[in-house]
Each structure stands twice: as structure tokens, then as C-alpha cells.
């Protein structure tokens, strides 16, 4: 479904990612691991079209999307749940969800999709009229995921969904991710939390200072000594 080929990207001419290649099959739940500054967020912002790579290609269902704008990618179904959740704080939960479904592809079925999202997150239904900025961190994460689902994501990319959440909420959010995966959604899970991700993902990539250090099934990655060293920066 998604193929990244020899991606090089950076800021102001200084590469952050060097020759990164990655593949995601339809319906897969793939983890992208790495320590701080490994380049995880940079990678998915390239996938979202926030940055344009210096070289390399990104293929989505065989179509070259490397030069498409952020908007065109959302129209294709490449949707990101950003790090730090980035809900619109001064808008109600309902308005946040409506904005999620603002792209042309999702807009015609916004009402049904919202019903679906509210079934998935009953807590959001209780808070529909409340400003998003007044929600707890966990509720904001639900909203951010709900908002992405409103966009009728076909490839859902989650950037650090466990960040800053209580263990109970982390468990809950990962339960939701599992459920979405079982429903057939293709998911790229970007995480710092190693063990958690290895437990839920089928395959993982480990980024280390802008390069893929390890890749393979979660068991393989788990037992590879390079995984730990990538984390410890050795």
C-alpha cells in the first residue's frame, strides 16, 4: 500500500533522514521505533506532505505521491494523528470532528462517519459541545484519532499516541488501535515506547539517527541487539 524508496530529507539542506526505505502492506499494523531525534516525526511529516524530500520516492497504492500537497494526500486517505494531538483548542469536540472530515472524499458521509467515531469513543459523545482545550490529555488523544477517522483515513499514521498519557489511557488507546487494525485499517504507528509497540505491531522498523537500523517482524526486532543499542545511542 505504501512504499518509501531511498528517502533523503532534511531542513535547510542538512539531511535528517538518509536513504530510508520502508514498506507497508494493506491492512498491516507496522511500528516505527526510535529514540528522540531519530527522525520519526520528520518521516511522517514527509508522508503527510508537510515537507518535500530532497530525494527519493513515496508511492501510495502504486501512485507517486512524492510531490503532492498535504491536501492532495489527505484526499487520497493518507492521514496523520500528530504528535501532541494538536486539537483545535477553542473549538468544540463536534467542530473538531467536522474539520476532520472536511476533505472532498469524506465530506459527503460526515454524519455517518461521526456516528461511527462516537460509537468508538462514547466519551467524546458526552463532550460534544465542550471546547477541545478543556479535555484531558487522554480525551484529546481520542479526539485526535476520531478526527483522523473522520477524514476516512486509509493509511492512518499515529505519532506518539502514548505520549503524556496515564497507563490506563495508554492501554485504552492501544486497544482502539488494535480494534481499528482488526477492522482492516492500515496503520503506521510511530512510537518511542518500545515494548508497547512490539506487543501490538506485526512488523517494526527501528530508526537510528536518520537511518533504518533494524527491520523485521516484531519478534525479530525484539531480539535483535541493535534495537537496544539504537535506543541507548551506543
Amino acid at each position: 500500500m505504501l512504499e518509501i524508496e531511498h528517502l533523503v530529507t532534511g531542513y535547510g539542506g542538512v539531511p535528517v533522514l538518509h536513504d530510508v526505505s520502508l514498506k507497508l502492506g494493506a491492512g498491516e499494523l507496522v511500528g516505527l521505533l526510535g529514540a528522540n531525534n531519530a527522525g520519526k516525526t520528520t518521516l511522517i511529516n514527509n508522508l503527510s506532505g508537510i515537507f518535500t524530500p530532497m530525494s527519493g520516492r513515496i508511492l501510495f497504492e502504486g501512485q507517486d505521491v512524492t510531490r503532492l500537497t498535504a491536501r492532495q494526500r489527505v484526499e487520497l486517505g493518507i492521514v496523520q494523528v500528530p504528535e501532541g494531538r494538536m486539537v483545535f483548542p477553542e473549538m468544540s469536540v463536534r467542530e473538531n470532528l467536522l474539520l476532520g472530515g472536511i476533505n472532498q472524499r469524506a465530506k459527503p458521509h460526515r454524519a455517518q462517519q461521526m456516528e461511527h467515531v462516537l460509537e468508538l469513543f462514547p466519551r467524546l459523545r458526552e463532550r460534544l459541545g465542550q471546547k477541545a482545550g478543556t479535555l484531558s490529555g487522554g480525551e484529546q488523544q481520542m479526539l485526535a484519532i476520531g478526527r483522523a477517522l473522520m477524514a476516512e483515513a486509509r493509511l492512518l499514521m499515529l505519532d506518539e499516541p502514548s505520549l503524556g498519557l496515564s497507563p490506563l489511557f495508554v492501554q485504552y488507546i492501544f486497544g482502539i488501535i488494535d480494534r481499528l487494525h482488526k477492522e482492516g485499517l492500515t496503520i503506521l504507528l510511530v512510537e518511542q515506547n518500545l515494548n508497547l509497540t512490539l506487543r501490538h505491531a506485526q512488523r517494526c522498523y527501528v530508526l537510528e539517527r536518520g537511518r533504518i537500523a533494524v527491520e523485521g517482524s516484531s519478534d525479530v526486532v525484539k531480539n535483535d541487539p541493535r534495537t537496544r543499542s539504537a535506543y541507548l545511542g551506543l
Partner: protein, 288 residues
């Protein structure tokens, strides 16, 4: 007492249009961080376009608005896309410099076409009066008030309950997140700027009847608009309309109770006073 009521009525009526002027500036600031120092010169442009249409076709300013609004909106879109957009995200002062330059271009362009003589654009309602008890108000002021408030309410509803309005608010609150929703941020910024300039065309027609105009007046409108926007807390809708009323009222009181020149100073004095005690503007929290 009559004088007092008279000043109050006049101030409220004109202040509503100041509020409308400032809403345009506030919206633009909210989505792109641009403060447009040629704001007042675009009002001038709108007014002189009405004058031109009157000279050529004997159109009433209110009728001319049907033509000036779409034309000015289009000019706004072109100016933002080709001139301002490339500067956004660079040094703040570059945008200031650019819009100040634009102000000079507009001012001198108008001077070239229309000359420097003060001019007036007649309207059929110009000298009509509305008498409410002791208070006498000019009909153009009443029209300005009604239209400004109707437009302000319309804008509010648009921001609250349309996708375009929600996109504007989304870009204001978090432009990166808006982009991730598939909102074309640059396009929203351009349309908002165009909308702001289109509003100015309406405001120009509303302010025009009975008001002498001259090419150098733009800066005065820019400064008044800035006062209102700052009073209103930059992006707060209700605050900006309230700020418009305060500046309008203090201007009216100044001209009625004080001499002409001293009276013109009153809004600035009131502004300084309010800013001393409420530097964050009139509003208590941002509602957008």
C-alpha cells in the same frame, strides 16, 4: 442632555462601521499574522471607485458597491497571493514594509487619477434625516449601522457554522493541524484577505455619503482600524465590535463637546487610557 444623546447615537452608528473595518483586519491577522498598513488606503480606493462610477455613470454609492465589492475582493486576492504571501513567515517587519509601500502606491495612484482636491460623492439619501424625539440622525449613518451589524452577525454565523468559517478558525488556532486536515492553508489565508478587502469596499460605500474624501485620508482610517483591533484584543469578534463602538463614540463626543482638532484626539486619549488598565484589550478571554 440632548447633545449627549446626539453624540451617543452618532458614535454608535459610525462606530459599528469602524467595527466592521476592524473585523476584516482582525480576521486577516488571525489567519496569517499579517497587519495590513494599507488597510485605510483600500478604503480610499473603494471610495474613489464609487466616485469614479458616479462621475461616469451617475451611480449612487450604494449601487456602486455591487461593482466595487467583487472588484476589490479580486484585487485583495491578487495582492495577497502575489505580494504578501511570499513575505509571510519571514521577518514581521518585511510585511509591514510591504503594506506601507502598498499604501503609498495606492495613495499616489489615486492622486494621479483623481487629483488632490477634496471631492464628494452625492447619494440620494445623503441629506435625509431621521428624527427620534430629540435626537436627529443622518439616514446614511443609520444605513451604515444596520448594514455593519448585519454583516458582523453574518460573519459570525459564517465563522461558526460553515466549513469555510471553521477552516478560518482552524488556521488561526493551529495552521499545521489545519494542513493535516487537508485544509489548504495558503488558500484560506488568501480568501480571508480577499474577504477583508471586500468588506472594506462595503464599508467605503457606507461611510461615503456626505463625507468629503481626499487621497491622503487612508492613514487616518488605518490608524482608527488599528486602534479598534488592538482594543478588541486582535482576534476577538465581540471585542472588536465593542472597540469599534468605543472609538466611534469617543470620536463623536470629541467633535461635539470639544473643538474640532482637539476632538479628533479624544479617541486616541481614550485608547491610551484603556490600554493602561487593560493591555490585553477589552476582552476577558479569546472566543475564537
Amino acid at each position: 442632555m440632548t447633545e449627549f444623546m446626539q453624540a451617543l447615537a452618532q458614535g454608535v452608528l459610525i462606530g459599528s462601521t469602524y467595527g466592521l473595518l476592524a473585523l476584516g483586519m482582525g480576521l486577516v491577522y488571525g489567519v496569517s499574522g499579517v497587519v495590513n498598513f494599507s488597510h485605510g488606503d483600500f478604503i480610499s480606493l473603494g471610495m474613489f471607485m464609487c466616485l469614479g462610477l458616479y462621475s461616469a455613470l451617475a451611480l449612487d454609492p450604494y449601487v456602486s458597491a455591487v461593482i466595487t465589492v467583487p472588484v476589490m475582493t479580486a484585487i485583495g486576492a491578487v495582492v495577497y497571493w502575489y505580494l504578501i504571501r511570499p513575505m509571510v513567515g519571514h521577518q514581521f517587519l518585511m510585511v509591514v514594509q510591504l503594506t506601507l509601500g502598498l499604501s503609498l502606491v495606492l495613495q499616489n495612484g489615486i492622486l494621479m487619477v483623481f487629483g488632490g482636491q477634496p471631492a464628494r460623492t452625492p447619494s440620494m439619501v445623503e441629506s435625509k434625516l431621521l428624527i427620534l424625539g430629540d435626537v436627529v440622525v443622518r439616514v446614511p449613518h443609520v444605513i451604515a449601522f444596520v448594514v455593519s451589524f448585519a454583516l458582523a452577525i453574518g460573519l459570525y454565523v459564517m465563522l461558526r457554522s460553515t466549513d469555510f468559517g471553521r477552516s478560518i478558525r482552524a488556521v488561526h488556532q493551529n495552521a499545521n493541524a489545519a494542513a493535516l486536515m487537508g485544509i489548504d492553508v495558503r488558500w484560506v489565508q488568501t480568501l480571508t484577505f480577499a474577504l477583508g478587502i471586500g468588506l472594506l469596499a462595503i464599508a467605503a460605500a457606507l461611510l461615503l455619503p456626505g463625507t468629503p474624501i481626499q487621497p491622503a485620508q487612508g492613514l487616518r482610517y488605518t490608524v482608527i482600524t488599528l486602534l479598534v483591533v488592538v482594543l478588541g484584543g486582535m482576534t476577538n469578534f465581540v471585542g472588536i465590535m465593542l472597540g469599534g463602538l468605543i472609538i466611534g463614540i469617543s470620536e463623536a463626543f470629541g467633535t461635539i463637546y470639544l473643538s474640532d482638532t482637539l476632538g479628533m484626539l479624544l479617541p486616541y486619549g481614550i485608547f491610551v487610557l484603556i490600554m493602561l488598565f487593560r493591555p490585553q484589550g477589552l476582552t476577558w478571554s479569546s472566543s475564537r
